[in-house]
Symmetry: C2
Subunit: 321 residues, 2 copies
């Protein structure tokens, strides 16, 4: 057991909509929370002021010296080694912001920053669905596809902290389209956006489906949510789309198994809420196409929900010793 009296850290999850801060202990319990709107259009200075305010709100009243460090999960790309946020699509004006240096100066505490998807991975590995596994791949499937990889209990970062850009890998070099510049990418096919595009494409071919009714009669309004709901009602076209997407996700996971050799794949994000309707055919695809030694690695739902980034930041802060 550590004899360090500083047994808490402050974790921050900086999002396009909300800033969330939490005081956490070593067990990953959240002792105190604060949440406020990011109001990103007011620019970096105002947002950083709010980050500092949120951190102060969760400081322990009686014993501020018990806080050993602060870590921030931020949208990327960012450089975890220099602590600079290079660019953040949902935060206006965030270009080359030295977030770590600014916060260290203002808080007089050690600060670390990490990419939100990488830290969600670390959170799930330390405190969530990957607990006890030293090698884990985390994939989040919602509007986009992102992820993080933990090998030998450490985040896989690469030269500039840009590893594990899982969504931006090609699964079809002959696809006639690119997404974020990459032909036939995992994200282009299997993100919520990709699923909606596939559904709308099939509906425009004139195939009937409950999905249109669920979307108020407008094909353009069909999203992954309507696909999921219609599939739950055994709508044939929705089931066909789920099967097609599950095969693609399964083959994407085969690549991740063969490249990272994880003990487990943990899946988060809104699309993962489809549950076994999606996960079962994904697992079957992996059984079919992965090489024998990689089969039977568990593929499971993430456990921490919205707190994954926050708890990953807490783990990162505790690792700062």
């Amino acid at each position: 057991m550590s004899t360090d009296p500083r047994q808490t850290v402050i974790a921050v999850d900086l999002g396009g909509t909300n800033i969330r801060a939490a005081l956490c202990n070593r067990q990953g319990s959240i002792l105190k929370r604060h949440k406020q709107l990011t109001l990103a259009d007011e620019g970096p200075q105002a947002v950083i002021n709010r980050i500092v305010e949120s951190i102060r709100r969760v400081m322990p009243d009686t014993d501020p010296a018990s806080v050993k460090a602060v870590a921030v999960a931020s949208p990327g790309p960012l450089d975890p080694f220099t602590g600079v946020v290079m660019y953040a699509p949902n935060l206006s004006g965030w270009i080359d912001i030295p977030l770590r240096a600014i916060l260290q100066e203002r808080l007089q505490l050690p600060v670390a920053i990490g990419n939100d998807a990488n830290l969600a991975a670390l959170g799930e590995q330390r405190y969530g669905a990957g607990r006890g596994m030293k090698d884990m791949v985390y994939v989040t499937i919602s509007t986009g596809i992102g992820g993080g990889v933990i090998l030998n209990n450490q985040m896989v970062l690469g030269m500039r902290g840009l590893a594990a850009e899982i969504g931006h890998t090609t699964l079809d070099i002959h696809a006639g389209w690119t997404h974020a510049g990459v032909p036939g990418s995992f994200e282009g096919y299997a993100s919520g956006t990709g699923i909606a595009r596939l559904a709308q494409h099939k509906l425009r071919e004139g195939r009937p489906s409950l999905m249109v009714e669920l979307a108020g009669g407008h094909i353009d309004a069909v999203t992954a949510r309507e696909v999921s709901e219609a599939a739950q009602h055994n709508d044939p076209l929705a089931l066909e789309i789920v099967a097609e997407v599950a095969r693609i996700i399964g083959l994407g996971f085969v690549n991740l198994l063969h490249l990272y050799d994880p003990a487990i794949i943990v899946v988060g994000g809104s699309v993962s809420l489809m549950g076994d309707m999606l996960f079962e055919p994904v697992r079957q695809t992996v059984q079919q196409y992965a090489m024998p030694p990689y089969r039977n690695r568990p593929i499971v739902r993430a456990a921490l929900g919205d707190d994954c980034g926050l708890l990953g930041a807490a783990a990162l802060a505790f690792d700062l010793e």
Copy 2:
């Protein structure tokens, strides 16, 4: 500087044809070599006896105590943590052979074993084309496609040492064929075998080419070597095949850049001998499809030739401290 008087290690490269052993120093210089035929069909016991003999042949005569450890680069899959070779396609009877334990017992020295492609990567990173880079991806393209990844100066191993199976990742989920079980795999497309298959396919469509003449008039005898040679003579079909293969390799490298974020990609194997004729269009493909922060990472030829596995084993043996 280390004050350890044991400044040498013995490295072994166990291949289907030859067993090679070398006495190496910390600078990666080979002080003494021995090579003999593997004679794999005599079975594991005979091969292990020859490994031990080769090791004894390169022991320093005057000062055997200067040897700190032994490491063996072996065909895989093998478990680097337990030291067991699970299976070796080119070595008859090698199933679950506890190679490390056997050698430790017989040599009374610390022994490590590693997958030959992973150790080739480590050799190139410590002593070859990736020297000075802490994050490197190594890809070998010859009969098959294999590789190894070094991040933060350490081999990426995964749960069972089976990471970086680069050749067995899908680049085309809609391909109508599988190779080693994986549809549209990198190895199926771009290995020497894949290149030969593509060339033969195009030749059977009746396209004229110097390749057939170079192969003694037999389409079936056309290999990647004839493709390369005909392309050097500006044969149109051969140039078309090189361009197609370079695009596939380039897109495969985009995936590796996005997943591992290496500072450099080092390419070995017989197909890499095509040189800039292949490398230039590969680099152009990467420039076109990689996301901006990953462009301009050098893509270079391996430097160690046949000694890459041997020197990787030497690095592994030195790491055993």
